[in-house]
Symmetry: D3
């Protein structure tokens, strides 16, 4: 791992050796995903920061929710498309292709979600995430009510808001640090 | 605590009773701040989410860093000003007034940071945070180098990026859920 | 008055001595407001300009109108918020706090008027002022009719348009000249 | 004068009869310009407002200044072009054609001032007016210094700022009220 | 033709002598329009490019269509107004004045089409062309249906889209190359 | 060919049977590309329009030029990325992957060309194409000179401008008509 391209443009080498628990987590990543995602390596110069990041990420994307894992990835991609974040579009575009089994859906969400054939629920969810990304200050009760009208609970709305919020954070951190997506993502699930 | 105004427009009551550790944390807030910030109450419908939030928040804003606590709050306010987040401007505007001992600096950062008399380091830091907020996709090496040129290390740049990123998340979650700032902030440190 | 900070970044000293009538006007300001607002000092290098400014300002903000003085100040703050004018937000934010007796309303209008709890009349008024500020070329009859529908007369619409227009002027002059708000405003009516 | 098209979309008839002094002023307009500009008729429902408007207008556009009358009209047209104000583009576009004797210059400023062949002084002046119109909150000392560097005094900068500010007001009032330019302007000085 | 001002800022002289067919085409232009439009001279450094341009232009603007020639010129002017293309506004503004016999309509479309008194068909057509120009990625079936609702066929929609598309191309080429409109246009049909 | 999904949302069936020459052209497409690109089918309801389109397209993208075919496709993708045109991103993204032999370059240009490692020539070319797409009215001689400074001739600048212009047209036509990219593109050259 020593001579590989660093995960960002910042000179912040990983703690070496990694603590046992972190190393175990990275080993699981390799086993399940075939790689350690660069966002994890980028945080691994400070294990407290890495743990804070994975704590929030795993709660948002993997914990139980009224939103399916695919739906959470769809939000990730639409937010990242508006913010034009290369890292997140590559990584989460692959996830949408995988979870949906529909490579063209992944491409549509990466390029312009308006062209995707979506039901009212998913379209409403993505419109809310898009408005949060471009004009959050103008969100009012009518926007939340529109989500309730297509079947989302208040708990679901919290989850939509927090997933959309999270990628508005991670998109910006990735772009600010020139984070590089792992090569493996590009050809996956085409 | 049962009859007070809820912290957001979503119907997500706090876990009742709170787990002992959470209750202790909230008690410390009351002791130190005179209140439990509404962002904590808003998350307290699900203790795992609350812990993920406070884990990341406390690491970013309170852990050791090349950025002072005031500087991190300055970033918070400038990002929140661009995103016009009422909750964060009220809460973190008060923090800038407190930590700087300069109420007018707080107002300048809330209203338009271009009018604040800042040294090159802090101006560079805020310009980077502002660019991350409005045009993160166009950030390139020259932007990072500009930070190095006014004295920031790569580790500092990581911290600037992550604080600015965090408020781009929390601003949007607060606006999306109509989060209300505690009344106590308004008159503080004027 | 000779050694104080000048009211703008331009080197344009006040006429010295001031004409009697102007001096009387400034004395009344001190008596009523505790200060001479810097916008008046900034104009006082040329008494004809000062008189033209106060003539228009006093007619708009103080003459009889279907809009209350508070409503005119609310428009001032919302326009100034969109334009991010430090001078006008400080001065007229204080006026909204004073006239409404509601400091939080003042803060809401300074930060993001979408979060303020307003009736249909005042919301319609502020939406019109906001559209005039950001997209005046797209205003059409439907926008004026919306104001009539919430109870405004054509005369009221003229007044809304002219108050909103005026602050689109004065915001820009203040920003272009780095006009400084008097220190007294910051702590008032909190 | 009773059956003609009203000057705006608002039902605000002129005071009838006009006060003697106002009637005299309007008669001079007819004599010199061949018409009473509709902006004056629009204000004439309230003579105090008309006088405040003409007081400020005449001081800005006609009083002595380091800016020529043509230069002030050039600012008027460039600001009005950015704001897409039909009334002001028609009226002040004609003024630029007249005062410059160069109909194509008038058209260039109406359509896109970037294509006009201008010296550094006039280009700097118009760039400052344009920035005031689109991004006034970002103006800083460097912008003012750029004007000094092409020969403007601080007094000139005040005049540039106030003329540009004024049309940011009158553009918005004209668009908000659907003010119609007099027919006479269209074919003048082609 | 050798000493005249070149049609663009690029040093790309016309083929000399022109091929017989091209010369004949240019002679017809002089006969009918009193000039060879500079856009043709600008392309005439490469006859294949000139022919491709005129082939597309003539099909779009002159071939049979459910849109009148005036309507196609109206689209040209509205698109060019949004893009602020000096060349196209001058040339096609003149065409609207000529074909409509209404010089003020030409000015309205050049300056701000929102002020023009239009029927629902023409307003819908121009709104669609404007949306194509500023936010094409957000066009959806509802936008096309709105055109059908005011009487356009699918074939008409194709023509609207292609005329609006064409001027989004030619506006940008003209601005990118500093293309100069022929002097003759300015005073025509006033 | 009768039962397949139509190439756009408009009901404009292809001429049937196609003229012999057109059929031959389509057969060559199938032979070379494995499909008839939907943009050709979309135009084939009117053979004159199809010929005008292919005439211009083939001259721009295939004729001799100082720009390589890859460079022209790079411009196509960057313009289409800014305009978020699904059809063109899919079709021309595949072309960049093919011609460069670098799938990641294709993805970078689709998602955010700022992250692509480019030499000064290609970066300058794409910056110019991007400025033409977002702010063509502000292009001035300095922008053209910047292209000359990295080695482009005036003839090359014409070609850059016309390729960038062309995709600003075709992006908008594709979005306006909901043009669907052929399925074959998605998995190509990954």
């Amino acid at each position: 791992m020593t001579t590989e391209t660093p995960p960002t443009a910042l000179d912040l080498p990983m703690v070496d050796p990694l603590p046992e628990e972190t190393q175990k987590y990275f080993d699981i990543c390799v086993e399940k995903l075939g790689m350690v995602p660069n966002v994890l390596k980028a945080n691994a110069f400070d294990i407290a920061k890495l743990n804070a990041f994975t704590g929030m990420y795993n709660d948002l994307m993997l914990a139980e929710s009224g939103l399916s894992k695919l739906e959470r990835e769809m939000i990730a991609v639409v937010v990242s498309s508006i913010n034009r974040c290369f890292y997140c579009l590559v990584a989460h575009g692959a996830a949408v292709r995988q979870l949906s089994g529909n490579p063209q859906l992944g491409e549509m969400l990466v390029m312009n979600y308006h062209v995707a054939p979506l039901d009212a629920r998913q379209r409403g969810m993505l419109d809310f995430a898009a408005k949060m990304t471009t004009a959050s200050a103008t969100i009012e009760e009518a926007d939340r009510q529109a989500l309730r009208d297509v079947g989302f609970s208040d708990r679901d709305i919290w989850d939509i808001a927090n997933v959309a919020g999270f990628f508005n954070m991670s998109n910006r951190v990735a772009s600010a640090t020139a984070m590089r997506p792992n090569d493996e993502y590009h050809a996956q699930f085409r």
